[in-house]
């Protein structure tokens, strides 16, 4: 029993000696294993010897061993904290690298802008109607009150397929086709491609897009025309835009009005403004009360019903809205141009 006491004493001392030499957590781990390993550790070895001690002395020696064990555990733990492995540092990731880009196709500005226009009218309860691009002289001119061989047709320079068949010069034929089939109330817009015999230049093209509209109902007045178009223009541009209705002439409306908006580029202040030419106003819409003869042509009684019609060039308006100087850009289809509209 004394021997065991001395051994504990010695082990305790050698433990202290060994501990004094510990420099890092690895050698500490070695010492911990040497003393505390459950299978081969020194303390386990001493416990083994306990069975040779007389039973009455066992509690005392047992206490001594436990005491030693606790001491070792405490000291190791204390040093473990001291030599604790530095906190694991995550591998450096460069978070400033660019984020992934999803390649998203871009819409062409004309269909895009056309849709903006359509959406405004859809909100006002209009329907969208379309029709053929190849039309007859009757639908394109005759039914719309263009006298044959009249210079009024010169403004609608036409691409012909035969004497009687042509590429529509406006989308108004669709209105005739709708009125032939449907009785009032009618509230439609007609977007689509139209054609003119014009050599391409910065402001003219042989093909462009139009949105025309038609309202026919009981009691429709010129005041309603003004209200509808003003709502539309404010929605398309902005709430504060200045609008001017100016008398004009179209064979299919009576009275007719041209609708101008103020030039937002120069505010009407620049003599040589590229956009308005110094006038301060931009022509945006043609409009008017539907000519009674046009209503008669489609068997609608002009004594009972009245209506208004309007039309605007999508390309021309988009040019103004996006400040694009040359209409031809729309049909070059340069992707450096088109891709900008993925942001619109």
């Amino acid at each position: 029993m004394e021997n065991l006491k001395i051994e504990i004493q010695n082990k305790r001392k050698s433990f202290e000696d060994a501990l004094a030499k510990v420099k890092d957590r690895h050698s500490l781990q070695d010492i911990r294993n040497e003393y505390l390993s459950r299978q081969r550790g020194i303390i386990t070895g001493i416990f083994e010897q306990l069975k040779h001690v007389k039973p009455e002395e066992r509690p005392e020696i047992g206490n001594l061993i436990n005491d030693f064990k606790n001491h070792v555990q405490e000291r190791v733990l204390a040093l473990q904290e001291k030599f604790a492995a530095p906190k694991k540092v995550l591998e450096k990731v460069d978070l400033t690298l660019p984020g992934e880009k999803k390649y998203w196709g871009a819409p062409h500005p004309i269909p895009l802008f056309q849709q903006e226009i359509e959406n405004i009218f859809l909100r006002m309860g209009f329907s969208i109607a379309d029709g053929p691009e190849i039309e007859t002289d009757y639908y394109n001119f005759g039914a719309l009150n263009f006298p044959p061989h009249h210079p009024a047709r010169d403004d609608w320079d036409t691409l012909y397929i035969t004497d009687d068949v042509l590429l529509r010069t406006h989308t108004s034929p669709v209105q005739i086709r709708v009125m032939e089939k449907k009785k009032p109330p009618i509230r439609i817009i007609n977007p689509g491609k139209v054609y003119r015999k014009e050599a391409p230049d910065p402001t003219h093209l042989p093909m462009f897009f139009q949105v025309e509209g038609l309202v026919v109902d009981l009691g429709i007045t010129f005041a309603h025309l003004k209200g509808t178009l003003e709502y539309f223009l404010k929605a398309l541009f902005h709430e504060k835009i200045k609008i001017r209705f100016r008398p004009s002439f179209f064979p299919f409306t009576e009275p007719s009005a041209e609708v101008d908006i103020e030039c937002t580029v120069c505010g009407g202040k620049s003599e040589d403004c590229r956009v308005c030419g110094g006038g301060g106003w931009i022509e945006i819409l043609g409009s008017g009360m539907v000519d009674p003869q046009v209503l008669k042509n489609v068997n609608i009684d002009p004594e009972k019903y009245s209506g208004f019609a309007f039309g605007l060039g999508v390309d021309r308006t988009a040019m103004f809205a996006y400040q694009i100087p040359d209409m031809r850009y729309f049909y070059e289809n340069d992707l450096r141009f088109i891709r900008q509209f993925s942001l619109k």
């Binding site: 819409p107 015999k197 042989p206 007045t221 005041a223 209705f245 100016r246 009576e254 340069d334």
Partner: protein, 686 residues
């Protein structure tokens, strides 16, 4: 139309700054496009309308302005220095075609001292942008720009037989015009002739043979009215455009020729001319004054505002209309001949609105009676399509509908192209029968400008002549070449390829719920042999996709492979779509098995698919090809195909041994059908 402010003062006294005047013009619909100060005068460029020929002279413009400003037109006087001679002894006028020449007036002035015009007249002529010639020619121009009534002066002594015959030209007749141009005449054209020959192209231009010269002593003034359509046709056919023709073809004032003749004669009197007594006025069918009924309540119901009847009466009277109050609120309005545009009540209401001021008409939203909307499912489908194509990385383009016939030829096609009779250029002489041409044009444009890849689509009509009719089909076309998308550091850019295009087609058909389509390997002249698929939908061919044919690429100077697809949306949209249906989420887990085979390369996926489908395994939920490769580890002419088969029972969990049976059945079938064998290590249970 150029308008001189100084000249307007002959008719009205205007005392307004120009900027204010421009506003007044704008407000009544006479847009001032431009104006400039010149020689103490102001020249306004007024936009006029085809239906308002009365505004093609200073008098008409003055009348508009007087009405707008509440001024009165000054009275015009035309004093004449007369001789004792009678005109009827000097000239005989006959109209042989009353339809084309409803009225012909003439006066004779003798002893004119031909020479330069006085300064005031020269100034007027120069204000119109013309060079003064001599007092006679200048007077004719002066009358035209003053009144919009064209007149012509003949050298009386050069008129053979002193006879004026207004007749159609004889086929083959010729006339030398004042522009020293030989004009070939046809029987469609109206001429002024003497006993022997045509001396003027009626309403268009005079003839050289009767022109006034320095030696001229007596002048015959023609002031006539010609049929607008006839003048327009003659002007177009001969290519001669004159200020006179411009006015006649828009419609002159049939009541005005005598006054215009007198005005000219009066001016000639100032140059020592002596006016012979009387006027020739051949006017076989005198035109009646039109009358139009105007109702007060219609003014209100069309304009949306009540306008004072005093204002209505004064405005219309100032404009030259004569009003008779038939009963309260109803007028009988006589329309002066110079207002050829006024035919109906609405036309008069427009006049009232113009002078009342559009800005004073209130702004109201129309009553929105609810109405049945016109449904257009096509529109919705196009919207879906475009979104999906953007998602797949295609940019949208819009091309002209025209096509170069030379390029059209490369697209051998069973479609008959439609030629345009008067195209803007020979390169745009056809309407397109395919969208691919335009898209290839865009590919060339962009690759020439440094684009590494181009993925684009267009939705638009193609045109075709078929069964005696002109047909339009709505098409969707896509082309792709090179690699698009900005290359990201984490991933490779996407190479254009057939399977991306095919995947896009499949996705959009699925998205629109056109489920029952299939692709079939077929050759097509637009594509390289063995590199195209036809898209079939319920027995109809609705589209194509493949690698564009080399000779077509050559026509667009393209060197790299281009993949293209074209789908006829008109055909597609007619088809019935599948209704969307919810299906219950599976309750029991699936079992998936990956199996790899080695087999002959020439067995197509489609063949395998058909065989597997015929097998009708009850619980095979789906199968996918997840790997396909050939190479050193695979024998020549063979390929390794790895499939994943997913099995599921709706009512309970499948046991492994059950799945084993199905799997063996697949292996056996593929072996029997195509001599496929399992790849070493190719069977992995999961």
């Amino acid at each position: 139309m150029k308008i001189s402010l100084d000249w307007l003062q002959e008719y009205i006294d205007i005392d307004l700054p120009v900027s204010r005047l421009v506003e007044v013009f704008d407000n009544i619909g006479l847009l001032i496009e431009d104006w400039k100060e010149e020689d103490g005068d102001v020249i306004l460029d007024v936009e006029t309308y085809a239906n308002r020929p009365d505004t093609l002279g200073h008098l008409g413009i003055a009348r508009e302005l007087a009405t707008a400003l509440g001024l009165t037109l000054k009275e015009q006087r035309f004093p004449l220095a007369e001789t004792s001679k009678n005109i009827s002894d000097l000239i005989d006028v006959q109209i042989w075609d009353e339809d084309l020449c409803p009225r012909y007036c003439g006066m004779v002035v003798e002893n004119i001292a031909i020479g330069p015009s006085p300064e005031w007249l020269m100034k007027r002529i120069e204000a119109m942008g013309l060079n003064p010639i001599n007092n006679v020619v200048d007077v004719t121009n002066y009358v035209l720009f003053a009144t919009a009534q064209p007149i012509h002066a003949f050298d009386l002594d050069k008129i053979a037989g002193r006879k004026i015959i207004v007749r159609r030209a004889k086929q083959g007749e010729k006339m030398q015009s004042l522009e020293a141009k030989d004009v070939d005449l046809t029987s469609e054209m109206l001429v002024i002739a003497d006993e022997e020959k045509p001396v003027a192209l009626a309403g268009v231009i005079g003839g050289e043979n009767t022109a006034v010269s320095d030696s001229t002593q007596s002048v015959f003034i023609e002031s006539a009215h010609f049929d607008p359509v006839s003048v327009r046709k003659t002007s177009k056919a001969t290519g001669i455009q004159t200020d006179a023709a411009y006015r006649f073809e828009r419609g002159a004032d049939v009541s005005f020729p005598p006054e215009a003749a007198r005005m000219a004669a009066s001016l000639f009197s100032q140059f020592s001319g002596k006016v012979c007594r009387g006027i020739v006025d051949v006017y076989p069918k005198s035109r009646k004054i039109k009358t139009v009924m105007l109702r007060d309540h219609r003014v209100t119901s069309l304009l949306g505002i009540e306008i004072d009847s005093g204002f209505i009466e004064k405005t219309l009277a100032d404009l030259g209309f004569q009003l008779e109050n038939k009963q309260p609120g109803i007028w009988q309005v006589k329309i002066p001949h110079f207002r050829i545009d006024i035919e109906r009540e609405a036309d008069l209401i427009e006049e009232i609105a113009r002078f009342y001021g559009y800005e004073k008409i209130p702004i109201q939203l129309p009553p929105l009676r609810s109405l049945e909307p016109i449904l257009d499912p096509k529109k919705e489908k196009i919207k879906t399509l475009r979104q999906l194509l953007f998602h797949y990385g295609f940019d949208e383009v819009v091309n002209f509908s025209f096509m170069d016939p030379e390029k059209q030829e490369k697209f051998t096609h069973d479609l008959n192209p439609i030629p345009i009779r008067n195209p803007i250029s020979t390169k745009a002489a056809f309407l397109r029968t395919t969208l691919i041409g335009g898209l290839l044009e865009n590919v060339a444009w962009n690759t020439n400008r440094g684009a590494e890849g181009v993925d684009i689509f267009e939705i638009g009509n193609i045109f075709q002549f078929d069964n005696d009719s002109y047909n339009e089909h709505l098409m969707l076309s896509m082309v792709m070449t090179g690699s698009t998308g900005e290359r990201h550091w984490k991933e490779k850019g996407r190479e254009a390829g057939f399977f991306h295009l095919k995947g896009t087609c499949e996705a959009l058909l699925a998205q629109l719920r056109y489920g029952s389509f299939f692709f079939k390997e077929e050759n097509h002249p637009h594509f390289q042999d063995g590199r195209s698929l036809a898209l079939h939908f319920k027995g109809e061919e609705i589209g194509w996709l493949g690698a564009i044919d080399q000779k077509i690429l050559g026509a667009y100077l393209l060197k790299h492979e281009v993949w293209a697809a074209e789908i006829n949306l008109s055909f597609l949209f007619e088809k019935q779509t599948q209704a969307f249906q919810y299906s219950a989420v599976a309750k029991y887990p699936s079992v998936s098995r990956d199996v790899s085979f080695i087999g002959a390369k020439n067995v197509s996926f489609e063949e395998i698919r058909v065989v597997l489908e015929k097998l009708q395994l009850p619980y095979l939920e789906k199968f996918t090809l997840y790997d396909r490769f050939a190479g050193s580890s695979i024998p020549q002419g063979e390929v390794s195909l790895s499939f994943r088969f997913i099995f599921r029972r709706p009512d309970r969990t499948l046991q492994a041994d059950e799945v084993d049976v199905f799997q063996q059945k697949i292996i056996d079938t593929l072996r029997a059908s195509f001599n496929f064998r399992l790849r070493e290590g190719g069977k992995i249970d999961k």
